[in-house]
């Protein structure tokens, strides 16, 4: 069976997989990282989004063998060791951007890539276009869009993180 060696959330892992094993199966079933969700069979919902070498991708639409040698970040890799949330997670909390939470890991991973790849600024229309690959059945998206807009200045160092 193929051997895949990759870095997940900063830690190196070497795992034996079948060629047909999906990256999301490797993460959830081999590494126990169940924060990355599976919400569909059709590559449409975005619940499975993770970062591979810094870029957001659907982990259900990539073979584990394709991630050999890559650096993967999942929702579990965002908060600091002391539990301090990533600014995007903090803004999701602050703006009530989640209800049941099923879509949230994928939303947060897509949102972070979106903010990082737009240092020049991000309009509401761009945020909505950027979230086309992430479905949410609960929130109606408005608060997710607000949370992402609020995270942009924090992630780009334009304002200090809100004090309690």
């Amino acid at each position: 069976m193929p051997q895949v060696t990759l870095t997940v959330n900063g830690k190196s892992a070497s795992v034996e997989v079948e060629a047909r094993t999906l990256l999301v199966e490797l993460l959830r079933e081999k590494l126990g990282l169940t924060g990355t969700h599976v919400g569909c069979d059709t590559s449409q919902c975005g619940a499975c989004v993770v970062h591979v070498d810094g870029t957001s991708v659907k982990a259900c639409t990539m073979l584990a063998v394709q991630a050999d040698g890559a650096s993967v970040t999942t929702i579990e890799g965002l908060a600091k060791a002391d539990g301090t949330l990533h600014p995007m997670q903090e803004m999701f909390r602050e703006h009530h951007a989640l209800q049941c939470g099923f879509c949230t890991p994928g939303m947060v991973m897509s949102a972070i890539d979106l903010v990082q790849s737009h240092p020049e600024g991000l309009t509401e229309a761009q945020i909505r276009h950027g979230l086309e690959g992430n479905l949410c059945r609960c929130t109606g998206y408005h608060n997710i869009v607000k949370a992402i807009a609020a995270a942009w200045p924090i992630m780009h160092g334009k304002v200090p993180a809100a004090a309690e």
């Binding site: 193929p2 079948e18 060629a19 047909r20 999906l22 069979d41 059709t42 590559s43 449409q44 975005g46 989004v49 870029t55 957001s56 991708v57 659907k58 259900c60 639409t61 990539m62 073979l63 063998v65 394709q66 897509s110 890539d113 979106l114 950027g130 979230l131 086309e132 690959g133 992430n134």
Partner: protein, 263 residues
Amino acid sequence: MYDFAYQKPASLADAVKALGAEDAKALAGGQTLIPVLKQRLNKPSVVVDLSRLGLSGISLTGETVTIGAMTTHATVANSADVKRAIPALAHLASLIGDEQVRHRGTIGGSLANNDPSADYPAAVLALGATIKTDRRTIAADDYFQGMFATALEPNEVITSVTFPIPAKAAYMKFNNPASRYAMVGVFVAKGPQGVRVAITGAGQGGVFRHAAYEAALAANWSADALNGITTPTDGLNSDIHASAEYRAHLIGVMAKRATAAAG
């Protein structure tokens, strides 16, 4: 998903050889192939990953833009060179699927697959692009051979696509809100090969050229030149998303918008 053997060859020659095996399948971005495998609609013996062949990148001459087969939709959409030389092509790439699909999906995979609702076939046909493979070059007019059918031989690998730079071009897409594929997409271009109009999403046989629109726009490049020209419904798709009559109507609307946008 059925299991298969996996290979990641380091040279084009090795990839072509590996693809010579019975039921071998090339893997590019996987954004079509993996969903198909998950549904067990295909059972390859071996999957040949093309990612180590150095087939991605964009290069420009004064007259052409060449895009490597493994170049992702996101790279084309964000390329300063493509935006300058053929902005309509960068715009088209930015409308494919969603952000995460664009991060992995490739131009070569899209053209090899030739989904009747895919976007790139419209650009390739309207701009009169040339498809380069491991063994030959194929003109756009000879390449598309009906729904999911192309001129490619079973083990043939697309290596790049060369687009002549047009004087004017634009793409307008009416997408299916659930799948994001084109219900109707119209690419209009005025280039070295004259005026060409390609329609995707609508035809039962995949992408096609619209002769009546081409003649009208060649005589008078303006949205008004298309007034009163109807598109026959024979050969247009009719499904739960849209009837053939509605698609015929959308072709007119999208073609006018595209012509106006091309300026």
